[in-house]
């Protein structure tokens, strides 16, 4: 299987197939990224689509020194920040979910909503987007050690909440 970076270079050279493959790989993860952070499903879909359109527009600017995954999430983070500036009430965690699948989901959302915003973001990037500490540090412009410490703190806070929930 070709690496994301190889696909991106093929795409830069004009291959539509390479872009389709990248789209298939990252469509759901990016939608998940926005969906977990925004209350509106429609906006999450629109922002996913905007991320890919931004990639299409800025193909030539991509430099192979960054991982494609980091590049995509960097665009997604910028789009989300712009969205939050436009509509500050757009955040999802902690809000009553629009489609609660079960109590567990509801509990997770509320527990995440109670975390410090930066720690929540680090934890979510690690657990849901599966990013490495170095990638998170790069995306959030933080020192690597800060990422590790804050992640530990977030997990300990969740552990405390989990224990408190047990009968």
């Amino acid at each position: 299987m070709a690496s994301d970076e190889a696909l991106m270079l093929e795409f830069q050279a004009g291959s539509r197939g390479a872009f389709d493959e990248l789209f298939a790989r990252y469509r759901q993860p990016l939608f998940g990224y926005f969906r977990r952070r925004l209350a509106s499903r429609e906006r999450a879909e629109e922002l996913t689509q905007e991320t890919f359109l931004a990639v299409l527009r800025a193909t030539r600017r991509y430099q192979p020194r960054a991982l494609v995954r980091t590049y995509l999430y960097a665009i997604a983070i910028r789009l989300l920040a712009a969205e939050r500036r436009r509509t500050p009430a757009a955040d999802a965690p902690g809000d009553p979910p629009c489609d609660p699948r079960n109590d567990e989901t509801l509990w997770v959302r509320q527990a995440l909503g109670r975390l410090n915003p930066l720690e929540r973001e680090i934890l979510m990037l690690r657990e849901y987007e599966d990013l490495s500490y170095a990638e998170i540090a790069d995306l959030l412009h933080l020192p690597l050690n800060t990422v590790r410490t804050r992640l530990f703190r977030a997990r300990m806070a969740l552990k405390g909440a989990l224990e408190a929930r047990k009968p």
Binding site: A6, T48, K159
Partner: protein, 364 residues
């Protein structure tokens, strides 16, 4: 949890579970985790937090995303440099032909020189384009795997097993990364070694090591690093291109001193990056070409019952020596006491003798 009891901090344990520790620290943590109940509990709690978080699943993205992206036009592929410079090439060719015609008219024939002049223009312009469009990342690669094996053995003849281990290393072209030998008084000897063996020889070396004793545990892992290698190669090629371009700028610049200094500073930065990436690449290549083999060799422990007689004799001898020392010590002590307290005793006896005699006579 007290850090003096646990060499691994909980935060480090978390980094281990996330696969974010260095190889050496990760194997140390794995060893500690294997026998530490407290740390096992902490690890289980962290894994439980991660599992709980995964309960929040996300529905599939709607088809709208796909439609919008598919409808977007694909950007035009970058125009080759020679195409964008076409007008200039035509202009230059026209000028050269004009010059040739002029020279012909004047009766000289430097046609071949003029042709030579036109050729390198196109070659020069095409070269950097090729460099940019064809980094090695596009070539299909074989998977690059950094292999690690772990084996624990119990040997009845410990010195022979150790010697055989050195022999295996020599035969397979490997070397010792680190080696620790333990020899506790009331247990068998142990040897912990980290061996680096050429990756192609790992299986053969493992087979040899297995013959040294009874195998208790064995584990093999392979970390796929193809992506890191491809990424690093691409970044290296890119930085080398940047360095080349900066060097060209420096060569042809006729600007201010501050500009020149700025370019030199940038070259220094890029060179630093290149050297760092080259070091990373070398260490990665070393991990791929040399597999790590962790060997733990335990000696089969036999309790020694035959030592009682010599041990008893030496104990008697020690007691006799101690008795003599005690006797000599008590004599010296008494003599020392007499010498230190004697004069005072004589003095007091002399002072108290007459009053005591007087009292004694009076009572009698």
């Amino acid at each position: 949890m007290r850090p003096d009891m646990h060499p691994i901090e909980p935060e480090e344990l978390m980094a281990y579970l996330d696969g974010e520790l260095s190889e050496a620290r990760a194997s140390e943590t794995a060893r500690h985790l294997a026998h530490c109940r407290d740390c096992q509990a902490v690890a289980a709690e962290m894994q439980s937090v991660s599992r709980t978080l995964l309960a929040w699943e996300i529905e599939e993205a709607g088809p709208g995303v796909e439609r919008a992206v598919n409808a977007a036009p694909l950007p035009a592929p970058p125009r080759p440099l020679w195409k964008s410079r076409m007008p200039w090439i035509f202009a230059m060719a026209a000028a050269v032909i004009g010059a040739m015609v002029l020279v012909r008219i004047q009766g000289t024939h430097p046609v071949s020189r003029a042709e030579l002049l036109t050729e390198p223009v196109e070659v020069k312009q095409a070269a950097p384009e090729q460099n940019e469009a064809g980094p090695p990342a596009n070539e299909p690669r074989e998977p690059q795997v950094a292999r690690t094996a772990q084996i624990t053995l119990t040997a009845s003849d410990f010195p022979a097993a150790r010697a055989a281990l050195d022999e295996i290393l020599k035969r397979r072209g490997g070397h010792i990364g680190s080696l620790t030998l333990g020899s506790p008084p009331d247990a068998g000897r142990t040897l912990d070694a980290v061996l680096r063996v050429p990756a192609a020889q790992l299986d053969a070396a493992l087979a040899d090591v297995r013959r040294l004793g009874r195998v208790e545990t064995e584990q093999q892992t392979g970390e796929e690093v193809t992506r890191q290698v491809v990424d690093l190669d691409a970044r290296l090629a890119n930085s080398r291109n940047t360095e080349q371009r900066l060097a060209d700028i420096l060569r042809h610049t006729a600007g201010k001193i501050s500009d020149v200094l700025e370019v030199e500073k940038e070259i220094g930065r890029v060179r630093g990056e290149i050297e760092q990436m080259e070091a990373e690449r070398k260490s990665l290549a070393d991990r791929i070409s040399f597999a790590t083999l962790n060997v733990r060799l335990n000696e089969e422990y036999k309790a020694h019952l035959a030592t009682s007689t010599p041990y008893g004799l030496s104990r008697l001898r020690n007691s006799a020596v101690e008795g003599y020392r005690n006797a000599a010590g008590s004599l010296t002590g008494a003599a020392a006491f007499l010498l230190s307290a004697g004069p005072s005793l004589v003095l007091w006896a002399a002072i108290l003798f007459f009053p005591a005699r007087y009292l004694w006579r009076k009572i009698r």
